[in-house]
């Protein structure tokens, strides 16, 4: 009975209750959506890094990173790549020849990372081929075709069809200089990456290195991000002498920024809930102050204080739950709607891209967040109702009746 009374009480003053419910609904919806946006941005950053070059998992010789020199190659790299390719839930493996060298043009030179790839394999692992702004991604007959970043092209004053000379140490410590033809220029969004990464056909590079194919890096793409951890564990067990790293281990900064987003979004939600809390408390207080006479009368005719307390509490709970429900529904709907097409934040394209995200963000929200949110709302409602309810039971019935 108390329950229905509480419910009816709320709707007695329609406009007031509606405002509160809407406030809560909007606050929650706003909070959920912006969180979804933030997490989407974090994911976008992660995905951008993975798609650009990082891939899901990488395998190296443990001493490779020290010098990134040609001699630190994975023994039997090609057959290893083949066996990884046959693993379940692995959709792409690229066995890369990768070492450092110097790129020169007639005007200047710059240190770069030289990568020899099989384009068809690499396409299954990364999406850099989609970021070509000029020319093609190896749709060329030139054996010495090279794909370079836009920033490097600018630095060395190169264009499509320009000649670029790469200098590096060969297999026997000798210095090798090869001329390559720029057939594609890419813009990945990270100017640092663009400036220092060049890609060649692996078989050409092998030929230049005396006919041997050296594999320094094996990059793996899994079917879904959920498979990354288990597959990494499997690979670590299978190849204990090699350095197997998930993308988080390989590039902790990327993981850092995205997890930071998630921390912030939780915090932000707290702030919103605080704002909502005060909103409810205010409303309930007002409502109690308004109904001084009525409440006084109830107490005078014998209604126990505890029951009034519970009634007020219930009222605030109903308000919050209605608003909360509406907010969650709105949030779920908007996120579901925008999830597929994404939100176009081209306005912020420059800063987004430099930060590693793309201009189109796909909001997403993990299930745990919805659940924790419901818990928070109920909690908030109870806390919000306490003060007004206390106020209500401390009324003196006689005085209350007589007040206006």
């Amino acid at each position: 009975m108390l329950v229905s009374l509480a419910w009816k009480n709320i709707w007695r003053n329609k406009s007031r209750s509606l405002v509160v419910v809407l406030a809560i609904a909007f606050g929650l919806w706003g909070g959920l959506f912006s969180d979804g946006l933030m997490i989407g941005m974090g994911e976008s950053m992660v995905n951008t890094a993975i798609d650009r070059d990082l891939a899901h998992i990488q395998i190296h010789r443990p001493d490779y990173d020290e010098t990134k020199g040609i001699h630190r190659y994975i023994p039997n790299g090609l057959s290893l790549a083949d066996s990884v390719r046959r693993m379940p839930h692995v959709i792409g493996v690229s066995a890369r020849t990768r070492f450092t060298g110097i790129a020169s043009s007639a005007t200047s030179s710059y240190p770069v990372q030289i990568t020899g790839i099989i384009p068809e394999q690499e396409k299954k692992v990364t999406r850099l081929y989609k970021r070509i702004v000029s020319g093609t991604y190896f749709a060329s007959k030139h054996k010495n075709a090279i794909v370079i970043g836009q920033k490097l092209a600018k630095r060395l004053r190169l264009r499509l069809h320009s000649k670029i000379v790469l200098g590096f140490e060969g297999a026997h410590g000798e210095l090798i200089n090869i001329a390559c033809r720029v057939i594609g220029i890419y813009h990945s969004g990270s100017s640092r990456f663009d400036e220092s990464n060049v890609f060649l056909k692996q078989n050409y590079l092998s030929g230049v290195l005396g006919g041997r194919t050296f594999i320094h890096e094996i990059a793996i793409r899994c079917q879904k991000s959920a498979f990354v951890k288990p597959i990494t564990a499997k690979l670590k067990a299978r190849y204990p002498k090699l350095l197997v790293q998930s993308w988080q281990e390989r590039d902790p900064m990327v993981a850092f920024t995205s997890s930071l987003m998630i921390e912030y979004s939780y915090f932000f939600l707290v702030f919103i809930l605080l704002a909502v809390l005060f909103g409810i408390t205010n409303t309930m207080l007002m409502s109690v102050v308004d109904r001084i006479r009525e409440l006084g009368m109830l107490m005078a005719i014998g209604m126990k204080q505890s029951r009034i307390f519970v009634m007020i509490l219930l009222e605030s709970m109903f308000l919050s739950l209605s608003g909360g429900f509406a907010g969650i529904v709105l949030g779920v709907l908007t996120i579901a709607l925008t999830k597929h097409h994404g939100i176009d934040l081209s306005v912020f394209r420059a800063s987004l891209e430099s930060f590693g995200a793309s201009a189109i963000i796909y909001p997403t929200l993990p299930l745990e967040m919805y659940i924790s949110l419901t818990v928070f709302i109920v909690l908030t409602a109870n806390i919000a109702g306490i003060l007004p309810a206390l106020k209500a039971i401390h009324l003196q019935p006689a005085e209350a009746i007589r007040s206006v």
């Binding site: 003053n13 509160v20 933030m38 850092f256 919103i272 704002a275 909502v276 102050v289 912020f348």
Partner: protein, 404 residues
């Protein structure tokens, strides 16, 4: 006259007024706290990164930053160290002579960054001494080097061994030196950990044959918000062919990511404002409805509607003003407390902060502008809610109002 009336009106119903003021009060506190945390985090990131190595500002000769060559060094006597150090808000000034060199020990050779420092001043600026993990720190009269851990490992060199430094000196001459390793310093960031060699300034100047010259003066300040002030004052006290670079130019990646974060931060703040607005709005609605009868009577005894509108406007003005002012006063102790006792992070984000050698905390900013800005915004929001009373009063029918 309206002002008098509205002022008295407010205090007639203390409880109601207090509740309305409270909604503005809490709104300001929440808005200030949110923004303070956002700005505090940025300032913290900047400070931590600046303290690694670059400093907040650097005084250099014009052209040095783009060319990074010893041809652009400054005469140490041309800058009055005391004058620079005594600019307000400057906490430390560290003179440096930097260049790169080949570092060799035994059969291994690596390229590294060689930095001549004033050990005492450098420590005050970047806490270099605290990074020492082996051996002894440098004294100004020492003829020895500190080497970063990663580099020491690569060269297989330890404390007591002699390091060869070889490279390009000033004006085309050769820099060649053999110096003992006195200590090993550790950086959590591998870029720094794998490249740094420190030596006392006079030794570096002798090595690079520059005489008493510097490549830069790194400047530390007490808080990021004083950056522009310090920059302009520094520019005023240095010779015209020198320039002052700030961290934004030296750390463009950080600058971009903060700008990006700031944008999303502002979006979130906007959502918060709307929630707040609803809260305040609700309070005003309740106020209006509750006084319906009173308004009806006033109008029927002859008060012109327009006057009533004015009076109500002033009431809202007062409420908003009091609420905003008290909100500022209330927010001060909160922000103050958290700025001295930052909230600790946990989870994956904390781990990554740890990895970077930065303490994982949420910092709060005590910049007074935050208080003023946020209070102003909330104040304006509160004023805007006047739209409802306006609408309400205009529609009011005295006859129906009295009977409610």
């Amino acid at each position: 006259m309206y002002i008098n009336l509205s002022w008295r009106n407010i205090w007639r119903n203390k409880k109601r007024t207090l509740i309305a003021v409270a909604s503005v009060f809490f709104a300001v506190i929440i808005a200030v706290s949110t923004r303070s945390m956002q700005l505090g985090s940025y300032a913290y990131m900047i400070k931590s990164t600046a303290h690694f190595y670059t400093g907040f500002l650097q005084i250099q000769q014009k052209g040095y930053w783009d060319n990074q060559s010893l041809d652009y060094t400054m005469d140490a006597d041309s800058i009055n160290y005391q004058t620079v150090a005594s600019v307000a808000h400057v906490t430390a000034v560290a003179p440096r002579l930097e260049s790169f060199a080949l570092l060799s020990y035994g059969k291994t050779t690596r390229v590294g960054q060689v930095i001549g420092i004033d050990p005492i001043k450098e420590n005050r600026a970047t806490n270099l001494k605290s990074r020492l993990v082996k051996g002894r720190y440098l004294n100004p009269e020492d003829r020895a080097v500190l080497i970063s851990q990663g580099l020491a490992k690569m060269l297989n060199i330890s404390v007591g061994d002699s390091l060869i430094l070889y490279g390009q000196a000033y004006q085309g001459q050769i820099a060649a030196g053999l110096l003992p390793v006195q200590g090993i310093v550790k950086y959590p960031v591998s870029e720094l950990n794998n490249t740094m060699v420190y030596l006392p300034l006079p030794v570096a100047q002798e090595l690079y044959l520059t005489g008493n010259r510097l490549t830069s003066l790194a400047v530390m300040i007490d808080a990021e918000r004083h950056l522009d002030f310090v920059k302009s004052h520094l520019t005023a006290v240095i010779p015209p062919h020198y320039t002052v670079l700030d961290w934004k130019a030296m750390l463009p990646d950080l600058h971009e990511s903060i700008q990006f974060d700031n944008v999303s931060g502002k979006i979130m703040l906007a959502i918060l404002y709307v929630v707040i607005a609803f809260g305040v709005f609700g309070t005003i609605i309740m106020m209006m409805n509750e006084r319906k009868r009173e308004f009806g009577i006033l109008i029927s005894i002859g008060m012109k509607k327009i006057r009533l509108i004015f009076v109500t406007f002033y009431e809202i003005l007062f409420i908003s003003f009091i609420g905003a002012l008290s909100g500022i006063l209330g927010a001060i102790p909160i922000v103050w407390y958290f700025s001295l006792h930052p909230i600790h992070m946990s989870g994956p984000a904390a781990q990554v902060y740890d990895m970077l050698g930065i303490e994982p905390i949420f910092c709060f900013s005590t910049n007074p502008y935050i208080f003023l800005n946020q209070a102003l915004v909330v104040f304006i929001i509160a004023l805007v809610t006047f739209a409802y009373p306006l609408f309400f009063l205009r529609r009011l029918q005295p006859s129906t109002a009295i009977r409610s």
